[in-house]
């Protein structure tokens, strides 16, 4: 019984991490119907950025994260404004193929710059510490923090969307980009801001990816797939739904791993496929999409 509870708890916490992977993806799709196939690779790139700052500039990983956050925002802004905005339009091929090419470029650039060795973000002893919940169940501090971070991020993004001027502009643009221009919203700029936000969230995800587990230049695509599964299971258009989706994937994976260690990732895929078959719109889809 404790074993089952422990498995599920670990799965929920893992789901928090997956929700962090997915939040940026969900945001971008909601606002500009763009799916960035390089999303996972950008998370990994952010992790390498922090690693480089931590190791070569000799600063603490948390400080590296604080520096990487605005840098990733800026990168997202520039990437969207000067490259990805040019792919937006009726045709689905350009954004898909350009971001696919981008994915290949990033992976190989990282390989070239950092070699294929697996790395970890050094965060000291806290990486190994855990909190005892009694009854023989313990949860890692970092997994707990990543789950808390996921909640904070989703909450924060929702606050941004529903209580700020920028959020209004983002929602208006996602509704009707032409009419948004009529009220003075520069859609090129808004899309870039949105991508900046998404990559800032990726930086958060990267911090927890790097400190909870190892990463290498090819880790990106798998993160993209988990993020995508979380978004679809949760339902397009809802960030809390994305969190729920992440938890479903996380729990499916830990349960699968419990049955057979090699079945972890496959179980996540199976859960995704089952939801896709039974509830194609996910659990919490927005009414209009």
């Amino acid at each position: 019984m404790t074993a089952a509870l422990d498995t599920i708890l670990q799965g929920v916490l893992l789901g928090g991490l997956y929700a962090l992977y997915a939040a940026g993806l969900s945001l971008i799709f909601g606002i500009m119907r763009l799916v960035n196939l390089a999303h996972g690779d950008l998370i990994v790139a952010a992790a390498y950025l922090m690693l480089a700052l931590a190791q070569y500039a000799g600063i603490d990983s948390v400080v590296a994260f604080a520096i990487a956050l605005p840098l990733m925002f800026g990168l997202g802004y520039v990437l969207q404004r000067y490259l990805l905005n040019r792919t937006l339009g009726e045709d689905i091929l350009p954004p898909l193929l350009v971001t696919f090419g981008l994915s290949i470029v990033i992976q190989n650039a990282l390989l070239e710059g950092f070699s294929a060795n697996t790395r970890r973000l050094p965060i000291g002893e806290i990486a190994n510490q855990s909190l005892s919940l009694g009854g023989g169940i313990a949860i890692g501090i970092m997994p707990l923090l990543s789950f808390v971070a996921a909640i904070v991020v989703v909450f924060g993004l929702n606050q941004l969307f529903y209580r700020t001027r920028l959020g209004r502009a983002l929602r208006a643009t996602s509704d009707d980009t032409e009419t948004a221009q009529l009220v003075g919203i520069n859609n090129q700029h808004i899309y870039a801001i949105a991508m900046g936000l998404a990559l800032a969230v990726c930086a958060v995800a990267a911090f927890f990816l790097g400190s909870r587990s190892t990463f290498d230049p090819t880790t990106g695509p798998a993160r993209l797939i988990y993020a995508f599964e979380a978004v679809i299971i949760g339902g397009l258009g809802s960030l809390w739904g994305t969190l729920a989706g992440g938890i479903v994937v996380g729990v499916a994976q830990t349960v699968g791993a419990r049955i057979h260690p090699e079945w972890q990732i496959l179980s996540g895929h199976v859960a995704f496929l089952v939801v896709l078959i039974l509830r194609p719109r996910g659990f919490f889809p927005r009414a209009f999409d």
């Binding site: 196939l37 696919f100 290949i104 993209l224 797939i225 995508f228 895929h269």
Partner: protein, 346 residues
């Protein structure tokens, strides 16, 4: 007297005859190529033919049916594993195993489609990737029969037992390894020819017209009675069948398979997409140009490893932004050429 205008007039009048004659010459030359005894050339052409065939199927899906898949490696892998299973477990002749590869891929494409067709656009793309991953992970579980994660090989007893090898050895007076090279080369040529013919006639048929309609405006097509789902499903299964055949052939030639190799996104999707994008989406000629370009790039730059791939990725992205119809599309538009004419005169 022999100025551009009169050449054009001649070309228009005898267009079909000229095309068929040229095609016949090319085909005959390619069939007789083994007479040159150049093994390296045959192996290079094997690569070009198989990649080109894969590209034609991807192009059929993406350029014509509007189904952008980044999961076609699923069918390469399934085809390869079907061949290995047929040969190793059932003791079938490898030639039959190749056919099994196509059939297995096509059969499994059906349930796959039923699931992934619930997704649209970019999400469909990632969905196909997930499907490929599922197949990869499942096959990696078959440890005793198919070698699990490390994979397995086809021993010489199997590869040398292929039908037709003795005849080739005698006719060309070569030893077994060379005979195998000739055999797989011809099979690749045959598959490619079949693929080009299939794609050409499919797109000229009513199905092809339906495809164009769906791609241009699904709602309009639906309102005219075009069954979008069935048309797309048919194309998806056909593409899976072809991809499975090619996958089986590729791995027959390699004689060694592993889940990571057979289901590799880089080898069977990234390079394929590159071929189609650089060459030109939505035309039959485009991938031909793209395959040739890839071949030369591979030949000269592959040893640069990561930089080669960075260049390819950046080039594909750049072409998509600057010349979205690829190299062939750019020239064909300017000079109004079609080698495989698909447009109907309105």
């Amino acid at each position: 007297m022999a100025d551009g205008a009169s050449w054009r007039a001649l070309a228009e009048r005898y267009g079909i005859q000229i095309r068929l004659a040229a095609l016949a010459i090319v085909v005959i030359v390619l069939i007789l190529l083994p007479l040159l005894g150049n093994r390296a050339l045959m192996q290079d052409l094997f690569f070009v033919f198989t990649m080109l065939a894969l590209a034609q199927y991807w192009n059929l899906l993406a350029g014509y049916a509007g189904l952008v898949s980044v999961g076609q490696q699923a069918f390469v892998g399934l085809g390869a594993y079907a061949l290995f299973a047929a040969a190793l477990i059932l003791g079938w002749d490898p030639l039959l195993g190749i056919v099994a590869g196509g059939v297995v891929a096509a059969v499994l494409a059906l349930p796959t489609a039923l699931v992934v067709f619930r997704l649209r656009g970019a999400y469909f793309a990632i969905g196909t990737w997930v499907a490929a991953e599922v197949f990869r992970l499942v096959l990696a579980q078959f440890k005793t029969t198919l070698g699990g994660g490390t994979g397995t090989s086809l021993g010489p007893d199997i590869t040398n037992s292929m039908t037709g090898l003795p005849w080739i050895k005698e006719t060309f007076d070569v030893r077994t390894p060379e005979a195998r090279d000739i055999a797989v080369y011809w099979l690749a040529l045959l598959l490619l020819a079949g693929t080009l013919a299939l794609v050409y006639f499919l797109l000229r048929s009513r199905r092809g017209l339906a495809l164009a309609a769906i791609r241009d405006s699904e709602t309009a097509a639906l309102s005219l009675g075009v069954d979008s789902f069935r048309t797309r499903l048919t194309i998806y299964v056909i593409a899976a069948f072809g991809t499975g055949l090619v996958g089986a052939l590729i791995y027959l030639q390699k004689a060694r398979v592993s889940p990571d190799a057979a289901f590799s996104v880089l080898d069977w999707t990234a390079y394929v997409i590159f071929i189609v994008v650089i060459g030109g989406i939505g035309t039959i000629e485009g991938p031909i140009v793209g395959a040739i370009v890839l071949y030369f790039l591979q030949d000269y730059l592959a040893h640069f490893g990561t930089w080669y791939l960075i260049t390819l990725g950046a080039l594909a992205a750049a072409v998509m932004l600057v010349a979205p119809r690829g190299l062939w599309g750019y020239f064909a538009d300017r000079y109004d050429i079609q080698i495989f004419p698909l447009r109907r005169r309105l």
